[in-house]
């Protein structure tokens, strides 16, 4: 007999280029998460802690999970560092969900942390590139943007459309980010800005790429009976799928669909009591604009083939029928790798509780979070409801 699992607290630092140390970022996110638990929570009650990170500071600090017990603070708490490239946050959250469901713990904290700006630019490029495939991609000179550019090139050709659909994603996500005080970029851009931006890896230009961000995020998860003691407004986890794929694009059947996303979302809905069309808002992994377009159809949020039309017609905008990346997404909210997937939960926690301020999606009851590692070698999909 498995029990339900809920998010009872969530917090995060602003994402961006931040002066704070990793320890300080972690403390800030954990402090905000604990403070958001309606009836308060003694950190000493938490049973397990997962730290999602690719290795802030280029692994200057080893065994980093121990920092989580120190920062909470909860000296002695069992901790584990988890990593699935940029899906590290989703991987940690899904594991927490499984452990809680079975009753091996009452309360688990999952934190994500990255301090990218401590790395010099070449080192940063390495940390991003290494998340793709190494032998047949990175060491042959393919950058991480280049990997997604191959997907974008193929997508635009197959659909016989132009770069303006990529621009529509960028403009929308910057618009949402401008309403998010925690976003890395809080400014609007125009379609002309997108069109005229310097190329990074054709057809992707500067505004097709998410920024390299520092940041931390933290979420407190509880099993059902405990969640009800801590808050009258838990956010329920209704399903959580995970999947993998080959590291290299060359091993895959398609360049314009991520099999790991399709597998993970199928598993998530197999567990959940509602269908894809009942999802009212989604945080999807838009490390590059093309990734949001792939996600719309892979996740079953829009009918096959209709991603571009939905995007160009504004149906995925904040006031559209399916707001996607109301937070600004990786594109504008920012992408501190390990903290990204945890940050998606922070957004959905506030949205589903009606606490999202200027970017609130009205009467949002059911949301989806989609987190990708590398170019789709790892993926998690979570379904949440209020």
């Amino acid at each position: 007999m498995t029990e339900r699992v809920a998010v009872v607290g969530a917090g995060q630092t602003r994402f961006g280029v931040l002066p704070s140390s990793p320890r300080a970022l972690l403390r800030e996110a954990l402090g905000e998460a604990l403070a958001s638990v309606d009836r308060g929570l003694d950190p000493g009650r938490i049973d397990e802690g997962y730290l999602a990170s690719l290795g802030f500071g280029g692994w200057q600090i080893g065994n980093p999970a121990a920092l989580l017990a120190e920062a909470l603070p909860h000296p002695g708490m069992p901790v584990l560092h988890v990593e699935d490239a940029c899906a590290s946050g989703g991987g940690g959250l899904r594991t927490a969900y499984q452990v809680l469901r079975g009753g091996s713990a009452d309360l688990v904290v999952v934190a994500g942390l990255e301090k990218m700006s401590d790395n010099p630019p070449l080192r940063r490029r390495y940390w991003l590139g290494v998340s793709g495939e190494t032998e047949f991609e990175r060491l042959c000179g393919l950058t991480f943007a280049g990997v997604y550019a191959l997907m974008a090139e193929r997508y635009l050709r197959e659909r016989a459309i132009g770069r303006e659909v990529l621009g529509a994603v960028a403009v929308k996500n910057h618009e949402n980010g401008a309403l998010n005080p925690k976003a890395h970029f809080q400014k609007r851009i125009t379609r002309e800005d997108h069109e005229n931006a310097p190329p990074v890896a054709e057809p992707l230009g500067l505004f097709d790429c998410c920024p390299v961000s520092d940041g931390a995020a933290a979420v407190v998860l509880a099993r059902g009976s405990v969640a009800r003691q801590l808050t009258d407004s838990p956010v329920w986890l209704e399903g959580f799928g995970g999947a993998s794929d080959t590291l290299a694009l060359a091993g895959r059947e398609s360049l314009t669909s991520l099999a790991a996303t399709r597998r993970a979302v199928r598993e998530a809905f197999r567990q959940a009591p509602f269908e894809p069309r009942k999802v009212q808002l989604a945080e999807v992994h838009d490390c590059f604009t093309i990734a949001e377009l792939l996600a719309l159809e892979d996740l079953g949020l829009v009918p096959e083939g209709e991603g571009p039309a939905w995007t160009l017609e504004g149906r995925t905008g904040l006031t559209g029928e399916l707001p996607v990346n109301a937070s600004g997404g990786l594109k504008a909210k920012g992408h501190p790798l390990g903290a990204t997937g945890v940050g998606q939960f922070v957004e959905l926690f506030h949205q589903l509780r009606g606490e999202a301020g200027k970017r609130q999606v009205p009467e949002a009851e059911r949301g989806l979070a989609h987190n990708i590692g590398g170019s789709g070698a790892t993926c998690t999909v979570a379904l949440l409801s209020r």
Copy 2:
């Protein structure tokens, strides 16, 4: 209602300086683990995979958990890379135990993998040193051997004994390693070899330090009902504790006792149906000889203060009343970081099934595995029975 969990298969490569690639090492260990499942197992049935690694090859391959699905092979399987410094294996195994206990999965594979010899010597020293504390230890010039040397110095002074007790650990573990065809060092040493070895960090000499090894290990875990379908000789997990401590020695109350070990073992025995004195053999984390001495008393395997006497009198030897590190331990079997904790399970799987060949502990029914990260900032303790 939680279910029991069992080990149903286990395998590993030889530990040592190996020419094989990370992918080849992983395939070999997984192949041996699958082949050891008595009634066979289709890898496609496995629900989850955890890859324990600190980062073989200095993170030349990112998102490494995806390699696990590829190597098993089980395309698409959800995978997670876990890391708790040298306790990564234990951390992955403990998470698998929790997930299986609650029924979120039927079958989980945990693999450990490290390819240390691909790193040049300075890089290797970095990978080891980074697992200790960074700001107050490593960057101040304290090596990882130096950290344990501080503990050893204090231990010998408090107990008013000489280095010969460290030598007794080294001689015993080399003796056991000589009986293990998978060990890095398969040769005996004498007390004189230990005494006359070049110093590394006083009072620790060359034979007080484990080697830097390559290797992979893999274990298949199943929940009780599934385990019974797959084998008539499952090895049951009776308890599994985890704990953490400060990264820096300076933050701790004692230099001669690891609080994380004490916390983890207390939790493990709280779950188990037997007492410490019922343990018949133990694989403990002897990255340095001093670590085995600390473990004996911290784990409650010998009475407080009696670790040196038990060791010098041979009571922890293969034919003694409590064989410790029958495999050779990290000292002689070798220490491929992430694979070490998984390798301890491989040893206990064979010992408890009576398959350990020349180093078989007669009629072994109950065993303990103890895995440490860094200088004790993370720790797991598992109790197994046949």
